[in-house]
């Protein structure tokens, strides 16, 4: 099978990363921000896999699994928090949560 060159893969990952990044910046809804962050994380994971395959090592995939687990944990905590926020602010607009400033 013709191996895809690493650069292409990394480029894809990079594009994914940027997508996530931009959407974090433009989204107001906390949940969407969380999702976009997940996208970024996955982009990182993808990059690892690409790199791993390039060096023909399992490490990349191992890292990806780590990332997945971490992301899962994070999302769970995150959702819990978001519930709390919604419970208190009656909104998911992240800008609303700005009691602390200055």
């Amino acid at each position: 099978m013709s191996a895809i060159p690493m650069e292409t893969g990394l480029l894809l990952a990079g594009v994914l990363f940027m997508l996530g990044l931009i959407s974090v910046m433009i989204r107001r809804n906390i949940i969407f921000m969380l999702i976009s962050v997940e996208i970024m994380l996955n982009a990182a994971g993808l990059a690892f896999i690409v790199a791993g395959s390039h060096w023909a090592q399992p490490d990349g995939q191992i890292m990806f699994i780590f990332i997945l687990t971490m992301a899962a944990a994070e999302v769970s905590v995150g959702l819990a928090l978001i519930l709390q926020i919604h419970h208190q602010l009656k909104t998911l607009n992240s800008d609303a949560a700005n009691f602390m400033k200055g």
Binding site: M6, L10, A13, F17, G20, V24, I30, M33, L34, V37, M40, L41, A43, A44, G45, A47, F48, V50, A51, G52, H54, W55, Q57, D59, G60, I62, M63, F66, I67, M70, A73, E74, V77, G78, L81, I82, Q84, I85, Q88, L89, S94, A97, N98, F99, M100, K101, G102
Partner: protein
């Protein structure tokens, strides 16, 4: 994994064990005191186990971890800090109605995370440690669910931390892609191979710096710090300020020492800029701030800047200076937040400057301790902070980082202003002669816990300030192995 590996990881194992135990205990029945005791004991045990490893040369546990003097010292530092914080937390949470027990669980986990960080020699372990730390921090910060500030802080920290760790991971991936290994040593070797660093690698490093910088809350990744500090419960704030940053700084030093990042002007330049920016921004932001917790947050930003100055010295002395300063900084910060925690009541933490008005005449000893802590932060003699700052300046002058050193001097003058301002508020005359507040609404045992902690901290502060050579010996003894 051989048996000796386990022996060398004893502290971590103890903590992990403690976590499991406490889970079970909670399952059996909730009891604040028991949890507290378990935590404290486990911290102590872990610390004790370090003495076995006192004179370990450099024991690597392929491929992830290494146990050396540096690691031992940092772990010890982290453990003690965690212990003190847990002691403070006891009194703090005793006054609150939430379920307190899981708190200790998370505390233990976070501590494990930061311990792992300082002994990791591999991206994987770095990542794991960092995430154990962060994830438990999310929960800790938002622990007091009923305060919306707490939640706000939590969500902010969560999103931003995840965001930044995405950077970190992507950076790692790129580095991995360009070097083909994730071990620090390997990377170092690979880099040594290159005549000049490939773009990929540099980008990787850049992204990683973003991730690390966030955790260290240095400019321009500092914005979360004040909000989180303010929102989180006082002990947790202390934890973030000390343990988490300490761990990250430890790994940063290790990594840089390993790959000898100081050879690369780009990296040095970046860190220089970051350091100066942090010093300036931190101090200026704190200048007229009226919320004590935020002041401390900003000042911690500035102090990270100071630390970077020594870090940039990039030699044995620099590392020692960083370590020494870290110790002083830990003591001081924990002490400061301890006072905050002690003065806090059911509804809110004592964070407004007004809460401290005329404190000296209401609670002289607390005020005295707080004053000592602030003076130490300001780097006034007779306190550990002074010696630390002196050490950093020495390191800087030694390697002729004149720009940084002068900036440091300038900034500590600016810093002086707001530290002294708090002191001045405490020393003000009380308008109406407010009689001494009713004490002992807490059970004496608890009261003793926190008061004792503060006393210990104050004594340590002065001791190191007056007779630093003891600590110096320890540091120099253990860190010989750190610099390659």
């Amino acid at each position: 994994m051989t048996l000796t590996d386990f022996q060398h990881l004893m502290p971590l194992l103890i903590l992990t064990f403690a976590v499991l135990v406490s889970m079970l205990v909670i399952a059996v029945g909730r009891n604040h005191k028991i949890m507290y005791v378990i935590t404290a004991v486990s911290f102590l045990a872990a610390f004790a186990s370090l003495f076995e490893l006192r004179d370990v040369g450099r024991y690597t546990i392929e491929p992830l971890l290494v146990m050396d003097g540096f690691g031992v010292f940092y772990i010890g530092m982290i453990l003690l800090t965690a212990l003190l914080i847990s002691m403070l937390s006891y009194a703090y949470f005793e006054q609150r109605e939430e379920r307190k027990e899981e708190y200790y669980l998370l505390l233990l986990l976070a501590t494990i995370g930061s311990c792992v960080l300082v002994i990791s020699t591999h991206f994987a372990s770095l990542f794991l440690g960092l995430e154990i730390l962060s994830v438990s921090l999310y929960a800790l910060i938002a622990y007091l669910r009923t305060r919306e500030r707490s939640d706000e802080a939590g969500i902010k920290y969560l999103i931003l931390a995840a965001f930044s760790s995405a950077f970190l991971l992507f950076g790692m991936a790129l580095v991995y892609a360009s070097t083909g290994t994730m071990e620090f040593a390997g990377i170092a070797a690979a880099i040594a191979g290159f005549t000049e660093l490939p773009l990929l690698l540099l980008t990787g490093f850049g992204l990683m710096i973003v991730g690390i910088g966030f955790k260290l809350s240095v400019v321009p990744f500092h914005m979360w710090a004040p909000d989180v500090y303010e929102g989180a419960p006082a002990p947790v704030t202390a934890f973030i300020a000390t343990v988490s940053k300490g761990g990250v700084l430890g790994v940063l030093i290790r990594f840089f020492m390993e790959v000898d990042g100081f050879r690369y002007p780009t990296l040095v330049l970046i860190f220089t800029i970051v350091a100066i920016a942090s010093m300036l921004a931190g101090n200026l932001l704190a200048l007229l701030q009226r919320n004590v917790k935020r002041i401390l947050a900003y000042s911690s930003i500035a102090h990270l800047g100071y630390l970077l100055v020594a870090f940039l010295a990039g030699n044995q002395m620099g590392v020692e200076a960083v370590t020494f300063y870290l110790v002083a900084y830990f003591i001081t910060t924990v002490g400061a937040f301890g006072v905050v925690a002690m003065l806090s009541d059911k509804e809110r933490d004592a964070e407004q400057l007004e809460d401290y008005r005329a404190l000296l005449w209401r609670r002289p000893w607390t005020a005295a301790v707080f004053t000592a802590m602030l003076l130490s932060l300001a780097g006034i003699p007779l306190t550990a902070g002074f010696v630390g700052k002196f050490y950093i300046l020495a390191a800087g002058v030694n390697t002729q980082l004149w720009l940084l050193v002068v900036m440091l001097a300038l900034n500590s003058v600016i810093g002086l202003f707001y530290y002294i301002r708090i002191v001045a508020v405490m020393f003000q005359q009380p308008e109406a002669e407010t009689q001494v507040e009713p004490r002992g609404k807490l059970r004496p045992s608890i009261y003793v816990a926190s008061v004792g902690t503060l006393t210990i901290l104050a004594l340590l502060l002065v001791y190191i300030g007056v007779y630093p050579s003891g600590l110096l010996q320890v540091i120099q003894g253990l860190l010989v192995t750190a610099a390659p």
